[in-house]
Symmetry: D2
Subunit: 461 residues, 4 copies
C-alpha cells in the first residue's frame, strides 16, 4: 500500500489499494533512475547557482543524490510496495537521508517536466546504442559481401528466379536499408536534443531558473521553446518507435530470406549450430529460430508503435495521465530492436553461404531470358516485340524441359532469324553479370564501388 | 548460460549465450506453470492407462510433478538462468527428482501441442476472470442507475447538449455494451474449448494416445479435429484480444466521459478521493487519474492485438518459432483489461453524481427544441418544415439569450400560428422525458424495464 | 457546393465550400442506398399504420421512394456535388418528386438511428456473402483433399521438413480454420440482428412508433434495448472487421505457402496460367501474383481494423461525427476479404499439386527420425534418451550425406543395440503415416473422417 | 476483360476475368499518370542521347507521350476495363498511336523501377503540398496568437484547471508541434530524393543507360546506389505515412480541444457557422463537425500506416506483388492529412475565442495555488512542505466554497505564519503570469519572443 503521498495535502481519504496499484509506475520507470538523478543533479546545481536555494542546501542535496545513485547502482536501494514512481521514490529517500532540505529539490520543478527530461535523456542513449548495433550489423553484412564478392545467385522477384545477381550485391541492399535507418535515428536524436526542464507543470515558473545552463550541463543543444509543448509533447518517442518499426521491417525481410534459404529446398545458407535450435520431439530438426524470433518480434514493435499513437490521440493539452503509458512501449521497442539487431549481426557473421548450390540454381533455369530479349533489341527489334519472341522461346524450353542455352541455334532461329551464334554469350550467367553497364547494377565493379563507399562510411562513424 | 539442451542430440556446438538469451522464454511463460503441470498430469495418467508406460512409471511421474507443483506454488522452485522455457524446466526438474523415468513424460508429446494446450487452459480461466470483472462493473453501473433512476441530465451528440435523458438510461447504455462483451467472451471460450494434446509435433503419433480421455480429464468439451491445425492455430488468442480491445474501447468511452464530467466546467461527477491523485507541484489539483490511465491503456491493448495479427501474418504451417511471441501480448491484454474493468467498477461505485448540476444544465439550454418541432408536426406541419421553423425560433432565442420556454407566446406565434399555449408543456424537460413513447427510450418506465432485465441477467450468471 | 441544408434553420451563414467537401460522405455512403430505402419504406409503413401520418401520405411516400429506388437501380439518379449524404439526398429527391409530404418521412427519425439501421442491414448481407465465399473456398480445399487423399508430402515446422503428412491432411487444416471463421461471422450476424430504428437522435421519441413491427418487417429478430446504445454502438462493425482480419490472416498463410510451393526450389505446386502473370521485362517469369496480392491485402484489412478501433476510442456518448469515418474501413474490409476468398478458391481449384516432387522431398530427408525415437521407446528407452540417441544417428547421417533408412543395421547398432531389423519399417514414410494411431492424426482413416465431417457440414449450410 | 497482356509471351492461357480484376490496379495508379509520363520522357530522351535508340525514334516517342499527356489532362484518354495498370495503359496507347516504335520505350526499364520512380516523384510533390498546408495552419494559429497575446485562460493538466496561461502561449504550443512535422517531412523528402530508374527488374541492365542524367533531368539530387534496394525499398512511403500519423495525432489534439471548448460547458470558443453543421432532427444543434471529422480521420491515417508496415513485413527481396498495395494507403494518408490540415486552418482562422469566459474560469478556481506554495518557499519553507501547507489551504477553500484570494489573512495565517499581506499579489492571475521568469514560459515577453521566432521562420520558407 501507498504511504501518505507527497502530493496529498488537499486530500481527505488515501488512495485505495486497487487505485494505488493500478496507477503506480515504479516497476516500469525505475529503469530511468540514472536519467532522473542526472537531471536532479543539474537542477539542484542551478538552483544553488541562481541562489534560489543556498549553496549549502544545494551541496547537501547533491551529496544525498549521489549516495542514492550508489544505492541504486549496487542494488541496495530498497524498492518497496509503497513507492509510486521513481521520481517520488528518490525524493522521499532524499528526505529520509538529509531531512527536510531534501524537500527543496523539487523547487521550480514538476513531475511533468521531470519525466519529459528523463525520457529525452533515455532516448539519447537509446539511439546511440541502436546506431551502434546497426553499424555492427552493417559490418557483418559488409564482411560477407567481401567474402562473396563474386558469388552468383539467382536474384528473385515474386520469389521466382529472375536474373543472376551477385550475393554481395544482394547483401549490400540490406546495408543500404540499415544506412537509412541510421540516418533517421540521427535526425530523431537531433530533434529531441532539447531540454524541457524549467517548463514546470506547464506554464514555467516565477523562480529565476536558468534553463539554458541546465540544458548545457546535461549536454543538450538547447531548450524546448514553449513550456506547454515541453510537457505535452511525445513526438520524439513516437518518431523513434516509428524508426524502430522500419528497422524491424528490414530485419523481418532478411529473417524471412534466411528462413527460406536455410530450407532443404533452397539450401543457400547453413546457419551455425550456435544460433540454431532443435525439437523436443523430432531428433533430426535444426531450426532457424533466431530468424523466426526476429520476424515475430517485428509484430511486437509494430504493436508498440500503435499503442503510442493510440495513447496520444486526441489528448488535450498539456500533461494527461494517459501519457504514463508511453514508457513500456518505448522501452520495449528499444530493447527488442536492439536485441534483434544484435542477434542478426551474429547470425549473419556465422552464416555459411553455399555458393555451389546458388550457382547450380542458376544453371537449371531461364534467368538470362532478359539478356536474350536485350540481344534481340540490339539487333533492331523493339523491346516489346523482343520480349514476346523471348517469351515464346521460354515456352519452348519449358515444354521441352531444356535450358535456354542448350537450345540449338537452328531451333532458336525458327523464333527469330535475328538470332546468331553470339547469342550464347548472352545466355551465360557470368557474362550476363559482367555485361551489366549501369551504375548501381550487379556488376563486380559496381559492387566494389558500393563496398568502398560503406567501408569509408562505417569507418568514419 | 544454457545447459546442454534436451533437444541437442544432433548438434555439435552449443547455442551461443546471445542466442540463448534472445530465444529463452521462461521469464514470460513461467506464468503457465499451473497449466503445464495440469496438462502433464492428465497426459501421464493416460499414458499409464493406455499401457504406453507402466503404471508404476506413471505414478512416479505423477508424484514428481505434484511435488514440483508444490515447489512452484511455494516459491521454492529454483528458476535459473540456464532454463529455456517452462516446459523443459519442469521436465528437467522431474528428471532430477525421479531419474530417467522422468524422460518418459514427453512420450507422444511435443512442445508444439503442449504449449497449445497450456494456452487454451490459460485462456479458459482468463475468460472466466474477465467475465466476472465485467459483471462487477455492470453491477456498479446498475446500482448507480437505480440510485439515479429519475435524475435528468443533458444527453449529448457531438458533445453538444441534445435532449434531456435520464442519467440511469445513459449508464445503462454501458451495461448493454458490456453485456455484448460478455457474450463475445463466452463464445470465444466455447470455441477454444478443445484439447490439442495428441497432435504431437504436427502429425499425431503412433502411440495409442487416448486424446478424448485427456481432454475430458482437463474439462474440455472435445479435441481439436486436425493435428496440424491443433499446433498452428492461434485464432482463439487473437479473438480474445480482439474482444479485449472492444472492451477497452468501451472503457475508454466511459473514461473519457468521467474525465469530462469531473472537470470544473461540467461538474457532473465528483470522484472519490480514494481514486484521485494530486500534483507534485500544484497543491490544488485533484486529478481523475484512474480514468485517464484506463483511457491510455486502451492503446496498450490495441497494440497487443496488432502485435498478434502481425506475428501470425503469412506464417506457413505448422508451428513456427515466431509464435512464441504470442504470449506477452496475450498476457498483457488479459491483465490490462482485467485491471481496467476492476478499477472502473471501483470508480463508478464510488462516484458522486451531481444531479443538481445536471438539472441546471438542461434549464439553460434549448434541449427541448425537438419537442417543439414534434409539436408542430402534431399540428399538421411536415417534420422537415417544422424543423426549419423551430430552427428559426432557436436562432431568436440564441440572439436574445433567452430560454425557449421563456419566449412569449406572441413572439412564438410570429414564427408559426400553429403554436398555442400548450406548447409550454412540450418545452418542459421532465415532461419531455415522460412523453417518450418508444420502447428503449429514456422514459422512466422503459428504463425500469431495462433495469429489471439486467438484474435478472446478472443474477443468473 | 451545398444547397441550403435541410438542417440549416438556425444557421446564418452557409457551410464553406471547403467544409462542405470535407464533411460530405455521399461518395462513400451511396453504397447504402438499398438499405436506406428499405429502412424508409418500413418506417413510413409503420408511420401510416400508427396513424402518425395519414395512410394517403404514407402511400404517397412509399410510391415516391420506390420510384427513387428505380432511378438508383438504373443509374438515372442524378448524384450532384450539392448532395451531403445518401439520407438527405434521397429525402430531398422525395420532396422534389412528391412535394412537402416528402418532409414527413423523417418524422420520429434521426440520421443517427437511420445510419445505424443502414449499417446493420448492410452487415447482414455482407456476412451472408462472406460466409458463402468461405464455403466455396472450403469446397475447393475439400475437393483437392479428396483428389490427394493419399499424396504424401513433408510436413514442416520452422519451415524445416519435420514429418511425413498427407497433403489432404494439410489442406484440411485450412478447412478447419475457415470453419471457425464461418462460426464467428454467424455469431456476429446474430448479435447485430437487432433494429436500432426508433432510437431517434438518442433518447427515443414522443411519437408512438412501433419499433417491433419495423424490426420484424426488416427481418430483424428484435430491437436494440437502449436508445443511446442504439445510436452510439459500432461494436458489430469492429467485430466483423476483426473477424475479417482473422480470415485474411488465414488467407495470408495459405498464400505464403503457395508462393513457397510455386518456387522452383519447392516445386510442389504449379499454378494455372489463368491466375498467374508475367513480367514487363523478364520474358521467362511466371509469378504467383494472386497469392502475393492476397498476402498484401492482409495489411489493408488490418489497417481497416485499426482505423475503426482508433476512431471509436474515447468517444463520449452518443453519436459523434467521427463515426462517419466507420464506413470506408467497413466497406473496404468486406470487399477485400470477399474478393480474396473468391480468388483463393479459384487458385486452389486450378492448382496442380506435384505429388512426385513432394514424395521425393521425403525420401531425401530424415523425416522419420521421430519414428526412430518412438521405436526405441517401444523397446524400453525413456523418450528423452531415445531422442538423444536418434539425434546422434541423424548427425551421422548428415555427416555422411546418407538417408536414415540407408544406414546399415550394424552401424545403427553402434548407437543402440536395441535397434533390430524391424527398424526399417519405422523409417518408411508411408508406413510412418499408416502407423499414426491418434484421432486427428495424418493417417488415411483419420483424414477420411475429417473429409466426411466437412462434406456433411458444407452440405447442410 | 483483359486484352492479351504485353507480358504474356510464354503463357498459354489468358488470365481469368476474376484474376484480372483482382490484380488490376489502374483505378488506383492512374493518379500517377503525370509522374509516369514525366519519367518516360526523361528515360526516352536519355535512350536517344545514349544512342540506345535512334534520335528519330526518341523524338517520335517523345511526341507520342506528350500527346497522350494531353489526352489524360483533358479527360479524352479512354480508360477501359481491359487496362491493367497505368504503365501498360500508356505504353499500349503509345503503340496504338505511333506503331511498333512505341515498343522501344520500355528498353532497359522494368515496371519495377518505373513504379518506384513514379512513387518518388509523387512523394516529392505530396510533401511540398503538405508542408505548404502546415504553414497555412501555423499562420492561422500565429494570427490568433497575435490577436490574443494577452488573453488569459486556465491552463489544464489532466483536463483539470492547473495554472493561468496565455491563450497565445497555448496556441503557440501547436505551432511548435507543426514545426517539428515540417522538419520531419523535409528530411523525408531529402532522403527519398534519389532516382531508382536504371535498376530495371532488380539487377541493372546491359544497356549503357545514363542514370545520372535521367535523375538530373527529373530534378533528383542523385541515384539510388544499389539496384536491388532501388526496386524493393518502400521506406520513404512508410516514413511519410508515419509523419502523417504524427501530424494527424497533433490535429486530433487540437480537434479534441475545440470540441471541448465549443461545448456549452466550456464556452471558450464559438466556431463559425461556415464550419459547423446542424442536426436532421434537433433544430437547436450546432455541431463542431469539422473538428470531429479531423479527430476521426486520425484513425484512418493510423490504419494506412499499419497497412503499409504489415504489407512490407517479411517480404523477401526484391519486388513482390504485395507491394502494389502500397499505393492506396499512401494516397489516402496524403489526401486525408492534407485536407485535415486545410480545414483546420480554416476553422482556426474563423474561430471566435471568448476571452471573457476564459477569464471568468480563472477567477472561480484555485489556479494560483502553485504561486502560494512558491511564496512560502521564498519565505523559507522547503517546497515539499510549502506544497502541503497550500494543499490544506485549498482544502479549506473547497470546503468553504471560497476563492483562494478571498480568504482572510487571519485565516491564512492559521495555516502558516509565514504568510503576510503581500500574498494577495501572488494570488492574482495576471500577476502570476507576469511573474513567470523562465525562458519559454507563459509571460507576455516570452510569448512575444516565440511569435517573433515563428514569424521569421514562416516568412523564410
Amino acid at each position: 500500500m501507498a504511504k501518505k503521498a507527497l502530493w496529498s495535502g488537499r486530500f481527505r481519504e488515501p488512495l485505495s489499494p486497487a487505485a494505488f496499484n493500478f496507477s503506480r509506475s515504479i516497476n516500469v520507470d525505475e529503469l530511468l533512475w540514472r536519467e532522473d538523478i542526472a537531471g536532479s543533479l543539474a537542477h539542484v546545481e542551478m538552483l544553488g547557482a541562481q541562489q534560489i536555494i543556498s549553496n549549502t542546501d544545494a551541496e547537501k542535496i547533491n551529496r544525498g543524490l549521489k549516495s542514492i545513485a550508489k544505492e541504486l547502482e549496487s542494488g541496495a536501494f530498497n524498492f518497496t510496495d509503497e513507492m509510486e514512481d521513481i521520481h517520488l521514490a528518490i525524493e522521499q529517500r532524499l528526505i529520509e537521508k538529509i531531512g527536510p532540505t531534501g524537500g527543496k529539490l523539487h523547487t521550480g520543478r514538476s513531475r511533468n517536466d521531470q519525466v519529459a527530461l528523463d525520457e529525452r535523456l533515455y532516448l539519447r542513449s537509446a539511439i546511440d546504442e541502436l546506431r551502434s548495433a546497426i553499424r555492427k550489423l552493417q559490418t557483418a553484412l559488409l564482411d560477407q559481401s567481401k567474402t562473396h564478392l563474386t558469388t552468383i545467385m539467382p536474384g528473385y522477384t515474386h520469389l521466382q528466379r529472375a536474373q543472376p545477381v551477385l550475393l554481395s550485391h544482394h547483401l549490400l541492399a540490406y546495408v543500404s536499408m540499415f544506412g537509412r535507418d541510421d540516418e533517421r535515428l540521427a535526425e530523431c536524436a537531433h530533434r529531441a536534443d532539447l531540454s524541457p526542464l524549467g517548463a514546470a507543470a506547464l506554464a514555467g515558473t516565477s523562480y529565476p531558473l536558468d534553463r539554458e545552463s541546465v540544458a548545457s550541463a546535461l549536454g543538450f543543444r538547447g531548450v524546448v521553446m514553449n513550456s506547454i509543448d515541453a510537457v505535452s509533447d511525445r513526438d520524439h518517442i513516437i518518431e523513434l518507435v516509428s524508426h524502430c518499426s522500419i528497422i524491424m521491417m528490414h530485419l523481418s525481410r532478411i529473417a524471412e530470406e534466411l528462413i527460406l534459404w536455410a530450407t532443404r529446398e533452397f539450401g543457400f545458407v547453413t546457419m551455425s549450430d550456435s544460433v540454431s535450435t532443435g525439437s523436443s520431439i523430432m531428433p533430426q530438426k535444426k531450426n532457424p529460430d533466431m530468424a523466426e524470433l526476429v520476424r515475430g518480434k517485428t509484430g511486437r514493435v509494430y504493436g508498440d508503435l500503435f499503442s503510442l499513437l493510440t495513447i496520444m490521440k486526441a489528448l488535450p493539452l498539456a500533461y494527461n495521465r494517459d501519457m504514463q503509458e508511453d514508457k513500456e512501449p518505448l522501452f520495449d521497442a528499444v530493447k527488442t530492436t536492439h536485441a534483434s539487431l544484435g542477434i542478426m549481426a551474429e547470425v549473419i557473421a556465422t552464416n555459411t553461404y553455399n555458393a555451389a548450390r546458388m550457382q547450380s540454381s542458376i544453371e537449371s533455369d531461364h534467368l538470362t531470358a532478359t539478356e536474350l530479349a536485350d540481344y534481340l533489341v540490339r539487333k533492331g527489334l523493339p523491346f516489346r516485340n523482343a520480349h514476346e519472341v523471348t517469351g515464346k522461346i521460354v515456352g519452348y524450353a519449358e515444354a521441352n524441359n531444356i535450358a535456354l542455352r542448350a537450345i540449338d541455334l537452328k531451333v532458336l532461329k525458327t523464333f527469330s532469324d535475328l538470332i546468331e551464334k553470339d547469342i550464347y554469350d548472352s545466355l551465360d550467367p557470368e557474362r550476363s553479370i559482367a555485361m551489366k553497364a549501369t551504375s548501381g547494377s550487379t556488376s563486380v565493379n559496381e559492387v566494389k564501388r558500393q563496398i568502398k563507399h560503406w567501408q569509408k562510411k562505417l569507418l568514419h562513424q
